[in-house]
Subunit: 347 residues, 2 copies
């Protein structure tokens, strides 16, 4: 089989501060052999490789952490992207000839075709009556993150008061809907009027506010949570966390999914109210979906009926073509996405 | 029965900053009727009161929180002492006529005799072959705190690397010995050479250091934990926590028992390294022994053999008489105690 063109998205250098579109470039001259035995790295190797055609690529906040070298972290915690090589992340892929049942989701590379060195990390897609892109979101890593984070980490109870930051994002929009299903009072924050409207009018949040318009976050929480917050689903960190701490209730739980407001700062914002953990006996748990993949089958069985019956809705922001990838990914850190940000590779 | 004299320790006013001995005074003119039916507050009341004679009173860091009014806290989290009324805290008490089997420990008042309005909070002492003062420490609230905090909250495994701050204190000295029993590598910090020697030479810690002599805490942790920290038993907060965060390993656990270094500050120290919770998937859990009293009987059965066989040692710093109470209690916040600080009321 002949070599084919294989467009790629590649970082030029390590990033500090907010990533710019120009920190990534699209390499249109790469090629790939579509027969594995002809791939040079496969000759004489017993390593099991799988060749996939990438269909959808997922833009996720954690990818910002991979764009820079972080001092003092051992390799076991976070590795970095390599300038000059395609970035990687979650995606939905098929085999190049796309036989039915050959669809997978998992970690792949930002390019048209990829050789996956650890195919055991790819999860076979069983249900294709829902949009395939959902496996980058509501049925994939972010969905499982919301599920594990809310049901396993937050120990929620009916009637509890739940706050979610970055609530219109890939994870937040689901956590809010899960919390409503459980009978909680749910407030979300987001960064635009449109997102706030989405939360209140489409996703069923009790209240929502635009954090950019709140000069005093503590006052905002006092307004929306006069009796305090039982559960904080933490996506942003920094001064939001600091103000939430002042408003948590006794035995509150903070599930730390991420702290995206801090990822682009040279110097992290300082948090001054940790003593409220002590006053109020709060559990603050940084969890990672990576430790919970065994729950994925159970999670999919849980989610599918809600999706099919329209009881949980999911908002995606899909851009077309790898060329749109850099803008979509860096836009995530300015909040330019409206819902889950996805790149449709084959569009 | 006649009225008897009833010496009391009373706060003059709410405290800010480091408490001073003069913030408390000993009232030697109070009296109490030793017959409950004659107590004015009992007349016509159906409230069950118990009259006790206080034997040992416990000096605990959390008491600092009760000495001031903390803004923005609802009554459910922390209440304050009332200037003009005796302070309260943990103690060992008996009935005034001290029949065998009438010994209890639990919350009482800093005075010779007390009427306890909620006697269901008092726990009967079953084993008296150990020093009675132990029920303010190794067999009481601090001991249960160490037990719950280490075994339940830290999820420890053999061989893990454990750091304990305020390691020579009432709780820390036990956590270190529990961790050694489990086969962990254990390092403690304390505030004097004598305490460091105690940790290394008497309590079996692998290493210990005087935090006052470390100008660069991060460097100290790099020295004692070149491979990082799995478990941090947090007693102090502030800059120690900030430096620990830089040195935690993936899946590390931080059990927050207290943050005593912050209790006397007008403005809490700022913590800048919370992003390491994100990088390393750390669980930070503020726990309180108040939520775990049901484990006390199991805990006592666990501890007694170790105490009787001398396999766990416990260092107490006992002062004599209520008159010594104010100095002992405020000394705790300067680290003047050597081991568990106790007031022997009847000495």
């Amino acid at each position: 089989m002949a070599e084919v063109s294989n467009k790629q998205v590649i970082p030029r250098e390590y990033v500090t501060g907010f990533p710019k579109e120009s920190d990534l470039y699209v390499n249109s001259t790469a090629t790939i052999k579509l027969k594995l035995s002809e791939a040079p790295e496969h000759e004489g190797s017993s390593k099991k490789l799988v060749l996939v055609k990438n269909l959808y690529l997922s833009c996720d906040p954690y990818q910002r952490l991979f764009m820079e070298r972080i001092e003092g972290l051992s390799s076991q915690s976070t590795s970095s992207y390599t300038p000059g090589s395609p970035i990687y992340g979650y995606g939905v892929s098929g085999h190049p000839d796309l036989k039915a049942g050959d669809l997978v989701w998992g970690t792949t590379y930002w390019e048209e075709y990829s050789r996956i060195p650890e195919p055991e990390g790819l999860i076979k897609i069983q249900h294709t009556d829902v949009p395939l892109s959902y496996y980058t979101g509501i049925l994939g890593m972010p969905g499982l993150t919301a599920y594990v984070g809310f049901y396993e980490i937050c120990s929620p109870k009916k009637g509890e008061h739940v706050f979610i930051s970055a609530a219109a994002g890939a994870v937040g929009q689901l956590v809010g809907q899960f919390a409503k299903l459980m009978g909680c009072y749910v407030v979300g924050s987001a960064g635009s009027k449109e997102k706030v409207d989405l939360l209140k009018n489409e996703l069923g949040f009790d209240e929502a506010f635009n954090y950019k318009e709140e000069t005093d976050l503590n006052a905002a929480f006092k307004r929306y949570f006069p009796e305090g917050i039982d559960i904080y689903f933490e996506n942003v960190g920094g001064k939001t966390l600091d103000a939430v701490l002042l408003n948590m209730r006794v035995h509150g739980r903070i599930a730390v999914c991420g702290m995206v407001s801090q990822y682009n700062l040279d110097q992290a914002e300082r948090v001054t109210n940790l003593m409220h953990l002590v006053y109020k006996r709060i559990r603050l748990h940084r969890f990672s979906v990576r430790d919970h993949y065994h729950l994925h089958p159970k999670f999919v069985e849980f989610m599918l009926p809600y999706i099919r019956q329209g009881k949980i809705v999911y908002v995606e922001d899909i851009v077309e073509g790898l060329e749109s990838g850099p803008r979509a990914l860096v836009g995530l850190f300015k909040g330019l996405n409206f819902g889950k940000q996805v790149v449709d590779v084959s569009a």
